[in-house]
Amino acid sequence: MTAGTLTIRGVSRVFPGSRGAGPVTALQPTDLTIAANDFITILGPSGCGKSTLLRIVAGLDQPTSGEVLLNGRPVTRPGADRGMVFQSYTLFPWLTVAENIAFGLREKGMAEAEQKEIVASYIAKVGLRGFENHWPKQLSGGMQQRTAIARALANDPAILLLDEPFGALDNQTRGLMQELLLGIWEREKKTVMFVTHDIEESIFMASRCLVMSARPGRIKLDLPIDLPHPRHYRMKTSPEFSALKARLTEEIRAEAVLAAEAH
């Protein structure tokens, strides 16, 4: 498995104003280094610029200032070295589950047999055996996101970016999805950047949790999560976990209050 080091240097994003409104600073100049195989969660209230930061890393948005380096090379546009899972369901509806997972591999021009092998292994990893030939429409939300994760991982990107991937799922499914993704990461390792507004999720998944301030966003807290691996869902009720949760709840509440006052 490939794992990359990500360096973010002075990255900011200002959206130009429209219809007479002034420009909006979504993200203040931000510095951040993510080591190979780190699992970073970015926690913040809505509108704090956490998705903007992720989209800039993906190359889907351009920073107003600063630069992003992946393994020392500057990021200028989207590419297969940065896999992404979106909050909205973005499977290609005209392709089956297996064809969706093979999308990036076909783009690389990989031989058919090799594609099949990789697709089969990821179908197994995300527990979708028997659904290879289903259309996305026929899948539940959780299954669609599992396919999206498999599709991104099958490309073996240097970093996996996830933008509130479980945000639209019900609570129980979300819990299972967290365990599934974490299990894959614990076994295979990968540099991961995971954006969420769910406090529990941001602790459970992370080796390092970043808390962002209300708009204009900046990183106000960088908290290593030293809970042991492999993690089990029961860990969510342990005293250590609860202490972290209490702390982050205070941090995020202060920002949510600020954000609410600003509106």
Partner: protein, 257 residues
């Protein structure tokens, strides 16, 4: 009846057929009952007799074949030009900015008004007939395809980029397959309009075709034949519509899943 409540399959078919029955019954009553003079409107029985004569004695099948060939020929030519152009316009905004104002303008030029001009340019042969249908269809297809492709879901395009697609790959592997059913639907719609143009084209300077037969029958006051001709067009439209839908269902199973 309640708004949006679905109707059963059998009931749907029965209801659909019953309007046809009602329509023909009203026509029969009006004509056979003597409420409308025969000279203006033939009754259904005369219409069927005239139609039979047309097919058996006057080689109307040949006219039908000629007309179908013209519609399909002109329409296929239009689609070959319009679909790729529409896709390019939908995908690349500068190309759209270049063509869109002109195409929007040209779309409103009535194809039938071009008939005299096209006769001057192309004579009264097949070329002119194909040209009328081409002019009538091409701009409509271009615009509708451009709009459909331009509305491709942004998040799917972004997903393709993060999976390693380049700009051409996004057009080829996302925009085209995603909009293919919509494009097929547009072609089905415009093919229906093309039928209007072909008849108009055949009214003037034509020696064969359904439109030619209709104009000839007018001179003979043979309203039964005219109505038979119109009904034949309706039936062909119905059949081609059905065929289009069947092919779409077979080509795009993911739509129905």
């Amino acid at each position: 009846m309640r708004p949006l409540q679905p109707v059963g399959n059998t009931t749907r078919i029965l209801l659909g057929i019953s309007f046809f029955v009602l329509f023909f019954a009203a026509w029969a009553v009006a004509t056979l009952g003597g409420y409308v003079p025969k000279i203006f409107l033939a009754d259904p029985i005369t219409m069927v007799k005239d139609g039979w004569l047309l097919l058996t004695k006057f080689g109307f099948a040949h006219d039908i074949a000629i007309t179908i060939w013209r519609v399909v020929g002109g329409f296929v030519l239009a689609a070959i030009v319009a679909v790729p152009l529409g896709i390019l316009m939908g995908a690349y905004k500068p190309i759209e900015a270049f063509f869109e104002p002109f195409v929007s303008f040209a779309r409103y030029l009535p194809a039938s008004a071009f008939v005299p001009l096209l006769i001057l340019w192309a004579g009264i042969g097949e070329k002119q007939k194909l040209a009328v249908i081409f002019v009538g269809s091409v701009f409509q297809i271009v615009l509708m395809v451009a709009v459909a492709v331009g509305q491709t879901r942004r998040d799917l395009v972004e997903a393709a980029y993060t999976l390693g697609s380049g700009d051409g790959g996004v057009v080829r592997r996302v925009m085209i397959p995603m909009n293919a059913p919509e494009i097929a639907e547009i072609l089905r719609l415009v093919l229906g309009w093309a039928w209007t143009y072909v008849i108009v084209a055949e009214f003037i300077g034509s020696s064969a075709g359904i439109g030619h037969m209709i104009i000839d029958s007018q001179a003979l006051m043979a309203t039964g034949q005219i109505i038979f001709g119109i009904i034949v067009i309706g039936i062909i439209g119905l059949v081609s519509d059905f065929a289009f839908k069947l092919v779409n269902r077979w080509l795009f199973p993911w739509r129905l899943a």
